[in-house]
Structure formats: structure tokens, C-alpha cells
Symmetry: C2
Subunit: 341 residues, 2 copies
């Protein structure tokens, strides 16, 4: 005779309600109790009746993380934070990298949510910044949380996590100025990312505040990649007069700039100071180590995921209109060898 | 009146069967047709009746990738290969990093497969090497593919992808010997990974083949991490006589060894040659660049995923007993600056 929910409860010494909570991954069961119930399920080879659960309107408990970003460390840190929060709340994670510039992106995401029965989505830039994606999700009443570059809460009933890239970029530029630099090059990441624009604006504002004119020739376009850094270093060494400092839009670009500077025989920081952004392992593993802005990506991801789960749960309670507040992060300046005179 | 499958077929100018294939993600529809159908679904706001599809025994089309590995680049490359293959076959990917040493690992995986309705699992080391995990999956008739270090096909009706770490490690060690080295240190990764053992055996065999005695004092224990490299370099510079070359079990360790060697004022490769393993971005972005063995992780992941999908599809055909063959990869020696005299 197959095991029943009652026999599992007896074996584990808990109530039927508790076993039900475990089966439905409600995330409200203590770890020790969870383990007891899982042992009982295993020992009795209990197989909950899936069809019955589906008919009872069982909660879907897979979240989707949607991104278009080539930065391996950023993705891994994001996944880590999301997975940490998923684990403690009984959710699993589906990942869906995509091409935000694809014509079919809206259909792609909507179909994915429906076919993989997702409970909600975590959107990072640039997808979190695309109105057509957001409105398609809104129309279908799909829960999502956005991670955004900026400091102003968007007009939405759904949660957002805001990263103040402007302020952090201002602090990095100010640090370079305080080290005596006035010819400071800026290497951009992808312009499709609002973070690039915010960081560039922060850089310009800090220069202006110290009466240093913004020289557009010192602003180089690129993508968030090591290769952009290498290529930009080639251009920088040929400039006359040569910049004495570089602010790269992320650590990957900064590491590439360092590599390129070395290839060209420049001493870092004596002849060229270099700062990055993100505090990725790149910034600690280069030689010299890189000055950067510590962006707590894992914490940001955890915060976004907990906001999303809160949103999913509050929707399930009819009439629940809890205000879901935005959450704010400002990356902090970390001074290392690459900018110290 | 809500749209029907018939109206979608008419709008898209295709057969009902084709629309059904798209809805069920059968992966047998041409991209251009897929797009037409998706546009029609979008335009008519067609919502397939999920309950009906479930009752009809619709295929689950989410795969799970299960791993216990701290190496960001390895994970990203694995995910990339799996996702590429998923995309072309109409599957989505759920990721589940875990602690292979956990007492509850078997329950954790079995519950995940059932609750997230997964079609199959991709297992990388060390999980692919754990008999208790495999037998629990076998008992429940869960499809999986294993990525394994070795060159011998395991006795199983399920597919495996085998990586010949022994042979690749032999080639790296042989290269160091040909460069004139005889005192070659070996820095191990996690011993729970069969790859560490295979690479160490390859190293020993190459030394023996050239009549160089294996000196166990030159074999340092560690994990697959940058930190292991830094710490091992500290030990190596203090050895008397100092080794003239290091074979690190992966590129992350090798990059750490390079960092540590520099901190101690050693010139690489003049005073210490360093080789890694994997051909991760680490190996191309350090200065000097690292000699390594190119492990085609993305290709390995694609191959494993296509084998898994083949296995899932063949199971669905009753009585289908197609033999599923193992697939083999041997990482290839890539000589760069860090070992050139």
C-alpha cells in the first residue's frame, strides 16, 4: 500500500499540516523539522499526489532570473544571492539569459513564465529598464522585481531595488582628483545600460565641482568587457598629453586597461592610475590590486528576491494591498594600490 | 470570446498541429514558423488551457543543472553550453548549486525533480561521481547525464560525457620537462573531485616516463581556488632547493600562484614557470599569460545536454532501447608565456 500523508506525519512525529507545508514548499518550516519530514518521506517512499496538488491550486515555486549581461562574476554573484534567498524560502531558480535587443523578447519572456509555470521574475538591467517588457508583464499580472540604476523610486506597485551609481562614480572621481589628477579618462560600458550613463554623469559632476572642464575626447566608448579595457589603453597611451588616470566603468574593463597599460610599458599607478567599479574578484586579483566601488551584488540580489517573494505572497492574499517599498544601495569607494601615488 | 488554437493557426497560416507543437515546446518547429505562431499567440492573446495540457501528459521541458563547484568561469561556461542546447530544443534551465557533502543531498535532489517537474538532470563532478545520488535517481526512473573525469565508459544505460584529465595532465608535465624542468611542484584541487586525482596521476606518470622520481614533498594540497595558489606560492618559495616549475590543477590556482610569486619578487617564467588547466579567461588575462590545457567546457556542456534530451525523448517512445553512447573529450595543451624559457 502506498504511503499516505498521515503515515509520513506519524513517522516524523509532526502534524499533517506540517507535512503539507513541506510538500508545498511554503518555507515556513524550521530546518530541523524539514529534515525530519524529508527523512520520513524518503523512508516511506511517499509520493504526494501531484494532480491533487495541482487541482488545489498549489503555489508555483520556481522563480525566473532574466538577464542580458556578459559579466561572469556579476552573474555568479547575482545567482548566489537569488539562490540563497530561494533556498531559505523554498523556491527553485530558473535562469534565462537573453538578447534584450531581440524583436521577440516580449513573447519569449511571457511564454517562458507560462510554460515553466514561474511564480515571478527577477529582472536586471537592461531588461528592467525596458517599458515594453514591463507593460507586457503587467498586462498578464506577472509578479516581478526590478534591479535598476538610479536613486528615484519608479511609479509602480511592484518592488524595485535601486543602485546609486551616480553617487559612487562621483566618489571615485573625487578620489582621483584628490590624488592630484586632472586629466582623467573615462571608459564607458554598454550605453544600453543605465548604469553606464549614471556613472558617466557622476564622473562629469565631480569634475565640474572641482572646476575641471569635461573633455569629451577623454570619454571612450566600449562594452563591459576586458577587451574594451585593452583597446582603450592602446588609445590612451597615444593621447597627447596622456591622461594620468583612468576611471573604467567596471572592474573587467579596468583589468583590461591594466593589462594594456603593461603591454605598453606603463607603470601603474606611477604613470597611469586606474580605478574600476564593482569590487569583483578581478579587482583583488590583479597586480597591483584595483581601486573600485564595492557593489554588494549578492546582497542586492537577496534583497530583490525577498521583495519578489513578499510580493508573490501578498498577491495570494485577496485584498492585500501592502505597499511594497523600494530598496536602495550605494556602492562604496574601496581604495587599493592602482590609484595610490 | 477567448482565442482558440484554431484561430491562432489561421492567423499564423499554419496547421493546428504546428501550433500545438509550439505550445508544447516540442522543439521541432522551424525558427521562422515559431516566430509566426508566437506573433499570432501574442496578437490574439491566446492562452492555452494549462489544465488540459497537464492532463494530456504534456512533456515537462525544464532541465536541472546540479553542481557543487566554486569556479565562476566553469559554471558560466557550463551554463552557456547547456542553455545553447536548451534553446535550440525548446527547454528551459533550472540551476541548483548544492553542497555535495550534505547528509540530505539525495532527498534534496529527488524532491527538486518532483516539485519543479524537471524532465532530467545534468550532473557535474563531484555529484556525478556519487553512487548514492545515482542510485536514488535510478530508483525513481529520473533521466540524467553525467560529466565525469576519466576515459572508461561507466556501466549504465544512461549517457556520460568523459573528460580525459589524465592524458591532458601528462601532456602539460611533459611540456614542462621538455623546457628543462625536473623539480616540478604540483598543486592539487579538491580531492573530492576525481579530476584532481586524474591530473595528479597524469603528472606522476609523465615524470616516471622520463625517469624523474616523484617527490611527494612537491605535491601540495588545496582547493580549486585563487587563494590556494597564493598560499602554495608562499610554500614553494621557501622550499630548498626551490622548484623551477609549478603545475597547478586549474587556472584559478595558477593565477593565484602567479600573484603569490610576484609578491615574493620571483620572475615568471625565468625563475618559476607556471602552468594551469582549463583555459579559462584567467589564463589569457594574467600577465604573463598562462600555459594551460584547453578544456572545451561549453562544448562538453552542449554535448551532455544533447545526450540528455535524446535520452528523455527516447524514453517517451515505449520500447525504445536505443543505445546511448558516451562522449569523450581530451583537453589540449596550450603553450603561453608563463612556461616559455
Amino acid at each position: 500500500m502506498p504511503a499516505t500523508i498521515k503515515s509520513v506525519a506519524q513517522y516524523a512525529g509532526v502534524s499533517i499540516k506540517t507535512v503539507s507545508r513541506v510538500i508545498n514548499n511554503e518555507g515556513t518550516v524550521k530546518p530541523a523539522t524539514l529534515e525530519k519530514v524529508q527523512e520520513a518521506i524518503e523512508a516511506l517512499d511517499y509520493k504526494p499526489n501531484k494532480a491533487a496538488r495541482d487541482l488545489a491550486g498549489r503555489e508555483n515555486f520556481v522563480l525566473g532570473y532574466v538577464y542580458d549581461n556578459p559579466n561572469a562574476y556579476y552573474i555568479i554573484d547575482m545567482q548566489k544571492g537569488i539562490l540563497d534567498e530561494c533556498r531559505s524560502s523554498g523556491y527553485e531558480l530558473l535562469i534565462h539569459p537573453c538578447n534584450a535587443a531581440s524583436d521577440n523578447i516580449v513573447n519569449e519572456l511571457v511564454n517562458m513564465v507560462s510554460s515553466a509555470r514561474l511564480a515571478g521574475l527577477i529582472l536586471s538591467p537592461p531588461l528592467s529598464e525596458m517599458p515594453q517588457v514591463l507593460s507586457a508583464l503587467d498586462e498578464r499580472n506577472i509578479c516581478y522585481v526590478r534591479i535598476l540604476s538610479g536613486s528615484t523610486t519608479p511609479n509602480s506597485s511592484l518592488p524595485s531595488v535601486l543602485i546609486d551609481d551616480y553617487k559612487a562614480a562621483y566618489a571615485i572621481t573625487e578620489h582621483l582628483i584628490e590624488q592630484g589628477h586632472s586629466r582623467i579618462a573615462f571608459i564607458s560600458g554598454d550605453m544600453a545600460h543605465q548604469s553606464t550613463i549614471e556613472r558617466q554623469e557622476g564622473y562629469k559632476a565631480a569634475l565640474k565641482a572641482r572646476d575641471i572642464p569635461v573633455d569629451n575626447q577623454l570619454i571612450l566608448n566600449g562594452t563591459y568587457s576586458f577587451e574594451t579595457g585593452v583597446k582603450s589603453a592602446e588609445k590612451i597611451v597615444k593621447m597627447a598629453p596622456t591622461p594620468t588616470a583612468v576611471f573604467a566603468c567596471n572592474d573587467e574593463i579596468a583589468a583590461g586597461t591594466l593589462f594594456g597599460a603593461r603591454m605598453n610599458g606603463l607603470d601603474v599607478p606611477a604613470q597611469l592610475a586606474i580605478a574600476g567599479f564593482e569590487d569583483s574578484p578581478f579587482s583583488r586579483q590583479t597586480y597591483p590590486t584595483l581601486t573600485t566601488a564595492a557593489q554588494p551584488t549578492t546582497e542586492i540580489a537577496k534583497s530583490a528576491t525577498s521583495a519578489l517573494i513578499q510580493c508573490i505572497r501578498s498577491r495570494k492574499k485577496a485584498g492585500n494591498q501592502d505597499a511594497i517599498r523600494s530598496r536602495f544601495f550605494t556602492p562604496q569607494l574601496v581604495i587599493r594600490q592602482s590609484t595610490k601615488g
